[in-house]
């Protein structure tokens, strides 16, 4: 489906492969139905998510923005099967993720989701390459590990340990790890937070390409309003509620974005 041209290491990009299913962008992939999350700490309750309804479609590039503490990560965790909502339902096809067995949930995380964690969460005792392998060994149809590292521009660093890499490099390993699983749904929690302008753009390009060429569904959390311009749809959260959703009929290519 994809291939790698070694002469083009300046850009992190996939070769263009035409999409086979033109209309898949309107198929419903995931549906949050009245989802809320409350954290209890002793006597204090934090309503991280109040009542959220959201539909996510196949092959969509969705961006989530909102102030710090507004519940973005919480929502992404629920979508990714990393956490259970306190109430409401999460429909993945006809499966309610808030109400399946641990085994089902593990399968969902393993086979469907690729997650870029906000704090990268690399395994400190594994090299960059091995950190990616941790993910690829889980799935039947992964992207080649070296290819994944090349895509994020880290071919040279593949044998380095996380402690030997900068924050931005660690973040890119985390991205490589998520996409190497070749998942249907890619969830990225501030994937460009630690990256400079140029690198950030390249990463964004990569994500957009994944969506365009491979038909992946991509969900990004960001503080950077500019990134929203590249999205098909932008969801804005405030205090645990979706306060605004708007669609971009003509998302900007990442190269044109003013950072």
């Amino acid at each position: 489906m994809y291939c790698f041209d070694p002469s083009r290491t300046d850009r992190f990009e996939l070769d263009f492969v035409p999409m086979t299913q033109e209309n898949s962008a309107h198929e419903l992939l995931l549906h949050l139905d009245g989802v809320g999350k409350t954290f209890r700490m002793g006597e204090v309750s934090v309503h991280a998510l109040k009542t959220v309804n959201l539909e996510i479609y196949h092959g969509e590039f969705l961006v989530m923005v909102g102030p710090s503490g507004s519940g973005k990560t919480t929502m992404l965790n629920i979508i990714g099967g990393l956490d259970q909502p306190s109430f409401g339902k999460v429909w993945y096809g006809d499966e309610d993720l808030s109400n399946v067995s641990q085994r089902e949930l593990t399968r969902y995380r393993r086979e469907t989701v690729g997650f870029v964690f906000q704090f990268y969460n690399l395994v400190p005792t594994l090299t960059a390459r091995e950190n990616v392998m941790v993910a690829t060994e889980l799935v039947k149809n992964p992207i080649d590990v070296d290819e994944a590292l090349r895509l994020v521009g880290l071919s040279e660093r593949s044998n380095h340990f996380p402690s030997q890499m900068s924050g931005g490099e660690q973040q890119r390993v985390a991205i490589a790890r998520a996409l190497a699983k070749n998942p249907e749904l890619l969830l990225c929690d501030e994937p460009t937070g630690a990256l400079d302008f140029e690198t950030g753009k390249k990463v964004l390009r990569l994500l957009v390409d994944l969506k365009n060429t491979l038909g992946k569904t991509v969900l990004i959390i960001t503080h950077n309003a500019a990134i929203a311009e590249a999205a098909d749809r932008v969801v804005r959260l405030r205090s645990g509620e979706i306060v605004e959703t708007h669609s971009n009929p003509h998302p900007k290519p990442p190269e044109d974005i003013e950072w």
């Binding site: 593990t106 399968r107 995380r109 964690f117 969460n121 005792t125 091995e130 392998m133 660690q170």
Partner: protein, 793 residues
């Protein structure tokens, strides 16, 4: 399948080398103790039973004055007696040209031609008797070795008051003398005591025992072996006319009983000690793995988030802990095997066995391994379960400082306000990590308990020897006479060269009775002003022989359910077997043997022999030339049956029993030290691993390595000190329990706990804490703290 995770595992094992080494050592020592103590115990037990079978060890011994062999053989008519062998036994004096002191010997008759008799011998060198000479002798192997006697040599024995020249044809051992002790001795001393086997025909001739014997050894039907009393009483009754001195069932046979007591003692040790060691190792291991895995919480959350299943992650951590358990178990096996071989070897110096093999008992090894594996896997299981039960999102968040509130000690303002901020941190930390602190303190207390137990036993052993030989038995030389001569023997003794002072004694072997309780023993008659034997009470105060009545040892009182004021019934074994009842005046305390004391005249009255004296105790001029003179004279005295030099007896005791005890106590102390040290070290290292970030932060802020190390040092110290103090009562209880179980008729351990024992334990505890901290401090110095801070987890 999950190959990267295996790589992670190997790398983590490698990274934590120091910690893993410390954990492995701990487990290995636990497993080793289990394996070696129990193996040594079984080795000895098997050796005993094999040896007894090999020599066809008798089930009973009957000593009598003299009886026709034909009559003795008739006893086989008694149902339950399956085989009999009458034989001749006599004590003798061995006349070796180069001996410094007179040497006692025991002469036994054996068939002229080799047949597999009861109490057979196993030849070590040379051959059995030949038909060529009548005066052939087999010499007990240890004695022969000690004196360089070999087949073909000639030795001289004083037999029936005549000096006889005998041809040594071989050297031999027998299960009858596995623990070979001479008259009046308590430890094997092949330099001063040997056994000599003569041809039956020759023995009959030389002792004027034509067709007669004075000892009967026999086998019982298997079903009677456990309860031989009734049949033996019947046998005794039938032999009454021949003057039965004593009837001894196997369990009371000196060598057998001593060996059995020793085996039982080791069994007690082997039952208890490894459990203590293993319990400590298991607990510490459990906590360590729990903490080690807890440190991986975030990684667990991440892996789970990536799609790993709980089962896969469980497997991963189980592999990790299995490696530790396996390593500990294997090292424990190897060390256990070595130790068991070594300890078994040590027993060979005390007990003469044909072969004392160090066997491998697979089930012991498997149990040891199983315990090691179970503990480590259980520890990791608990740790992994805690992290795996969380949602990945939750696990990935750095651990909430749930215990972050105030700890109880802060509510004691009096105390809290006086503490420096460093101490506050240390105490808060210890209280928050309750489980770890408790296990640390527990391990330290067990270490301290075993240490102090070792020190107490050592002290007690020393006390026992000095109490017995500088307070109770104070003579330099004891002579016993062949028969109870009149007081003129005493005058002879006083005239011996080099003798400064002599006191007569009268030992009357008898059987004591109290209702259902019976026991063989000796009553020793003492002069009213005797100063060479002075029974003592528990405060070491002298007990004078009462004008009438007897003083009995506390242990005998216990065994016979008697107390002062009760009547002691007894019947002398030799002479007129008159039944006597005497009042018990006081209890004496002694830690060896079960000697009953009485006034010599009172005792003479009881047995109806005016002037009886069975021996004499001497205080002598111990200069070598004077002693040589004494030895030479005593050798020629026909009246003297045995000669016991206190000095060589103590020397021998020290170099055998005491030495062995000290080695075992030493081993125990070393292992307790290892446990103590390794647990402290483990606890500190794990604490350090857990708080790398915190340490790094302190260092970055400008704290020196020593200041940061100081926090850890204080924790270690508090753990060690509290643990040690708690270990004191535990140690006392442990000794109490051990001495109760090690208590035999031959030996009892006095429980001596002078302050020095506690001080020593305490100092060792502090020492271990210091030593453990050296490692921790080194880790802090070597730590790459930038590393610790740069990785986001």
């Amino acid at each position: 399948m999950v190959r990267v995770l295996d790589r992670k595992l190997l790398r983590e094992l490698r990274h934590q080398k120091g910690l893993l080494l410390a954990i492995t050592t701990l487990v290995a020592v636990g497993v080793m103790c289990f394996v070696y103590m129990r193996s040594a115990h079984r080795n000895l037990k098997n050796a005993q039973s094999n040896y007894n079978t090999q020599c066809r060890m008798a089930d009973f011994w009957i000593d009598l004055k003299k009886a026709p062999i034909a009559e003795l053989q008739d006893l086989a008519e008694l149902r339950g007696i399956t085989e009999l062998r009458p034989r001749i036994q006599f004590l003798c004096t061995v006349d070796l040209p180069d001996a410094k002191e007179p040497i006692n010997g025991l002469v036994l008759s054996m068939p002229d031609r080799r047949t597999p008799v009861i109490n057979d011998v196993i030849l070590k060198r040379g051959d059995y008797f030949t038909d060529q000479r009548r005066d052939e002798v087999l010499v007990n192997n240890a004695f022969a070795k000690k004196h360089g006697i070999k087949p073909g040599d000639i030795i001289h024995l004083i037999l029936n008051n005549r000096r006889q020249e005998l041809h040594v044809v071989g050297t031999a051992i027998s299960s009858e003398f596995t623990y070979l002790v001479g008259p009046g001795a308590i430890s094997p001393d092949p330099e001063h005591f040997g056994v000599f086997y003569l041809k039956q025909t020759y023995a009959e001739e030389v002792f004027d025992f034509d067709g007669a014997a004075n000892q009967l050894v026999g086998l019982l039907a298997p079903e009677l072996r456990e309860h031989p009393d009734a049949i033996l009483r019947a046998a005794e009754a039938r032999l009454k006319t021949y003057g039965v001195f004593s009837v001894t069932p196997l369990k009371d046979q000196q060598s057998h009983r001593f060996l059995s007591d020793e085996i039982r003692g080791i069994g007690t040790f082997a039952g208890m000690m490894p459990i203590v060691f293993l319990a400590v190792a298991a607990l510490v291991l459990n906590v360590l793995l729990l903490r080690l895995i807890d440190q991986q919480r975030v990684v667990i959350g991440t892996l789970k988030g990536l799609g790993y299943s709980n089962a896969e992650l469980f497997l991963h951590f189980t592999k990790f802990s299995s490696v530790i358990g396996l390593a500990g178990g294997l090292v424990g096996w190897a060390m256990g095997y070595q130790m068991s071989a070594w300890v078994t070897q040590i027993y060979q110096t005390m007990f003469e066995f044909p072969e004392l093999k160090n066997n491998v008992y697979p089930e012991l090894y498997l149990i040891g391994m199983a315990i090691s594996l179970t503990c480590s896997v259980a520890g990791s299981f608990r740790g992994a379960r805690a992290a795996l039960s969380l949602q990945p999102a939750e696990a990935m968040r750095s651990k909430p400082p749930a215990e972050g509130g105030r700890v109880w000690i802060e509510r004691i303002p009096m105390l809290w306000s006086r503490l420096s901020s460093g101490w506050r941190m240390v105490l808060r930390n210890m209280i928050r990590h309750k489980a770890r602190t408790i296990v640390g303190v527990f391990a330290a207390s067990m270490g301290a308990a075993i240490l102090s137990c070792g020190f107490i036993l050592q002290t007690s052993m020393g006390y026992l020897i000095s109490f017995q030989f500088s307070k109770i038995d104070r003579s330099d030389v004891d002579l016993t006479f062949k028969d109870e001569r009149g007081v003129d023997a005493l005058f002879d003794a006083r005239r011996l060269p080099a003798v400064d002072h002599a006191e007569p004694i009268l030992d009357v072997a008898c059987e004591f009775f109290n209702g259902p309780y019976r026991r063989k023993g000796v009553i020793r008659g003492l002069m009213p002003d005797a100063r060479l034997t002075t029974p003592r009470d528990i405060h070491e105060d002298r007990i004078l022989p009462p004008e009438s009545g007897v003083v009995i040892p506390r242990k005998l009182a216990e065994l016979m359910h008697l107390q002062p004021g009760d009547m002691l019934e007894f019947e002398p074994i030799k002479g007129v077997r008159k039944h006597c009842r005497v009042p018990i005046i006081r209890l004496a305390d002694s830690y060896m043997g079960l000697m009953v004391y009485a006034n010599i005249d009172y005792l003479r009255g009881l047995i109806g022999e005016e002037q009886a004296v069975s021996g004499v105790q001497l205080e002598v001029d111990e200069r070598p030339e004077a002693m040589r003179e004494l030895t030479r004279t005593v050798k020629r005295l026909p009246a003297v049956q045995t000669y016991v030099s206190r000095k060589s007896m103590i020397h021998n005791l020290n170099s055998t029993l005491v030495e062995m005890q000290n080695v075992f106590i030493g081993i125990m102390v070393i292992f307790a030290g290892v446990i103590f040290f390794a647990s402290l070290l483990n606890m500190s290292l794990i604490g350090l691993a857990e708080r790398r970030r915190e340490v790094a932060t302190f260092l970055v802020q400008g704290y020196s390595e020593w200041q940061v190390g100081g926090f850890f040092f204080r924790e270690t110290m508090v753990t060690a000190i509290v643990g040690t103090l708690l270990g004191f009562p535990l140690g006392y209880l442990l000794v109490f329990w051990l001495t109760k179980n090690y208590d035999t008729e031959m030996f009892r351990f006095p429980l001596r706990t002078p302050p020095v024992v506690w001080v020593k334990t305490f100092m060792w505890g502090l020492g271990f804490a210091f030593a453990a901290h050296v490692f921790v401090q080194r880790e802090i110095s070597r730590m790459d703290w930038r590393d610790a801070l740069s990785v986001k987890e």
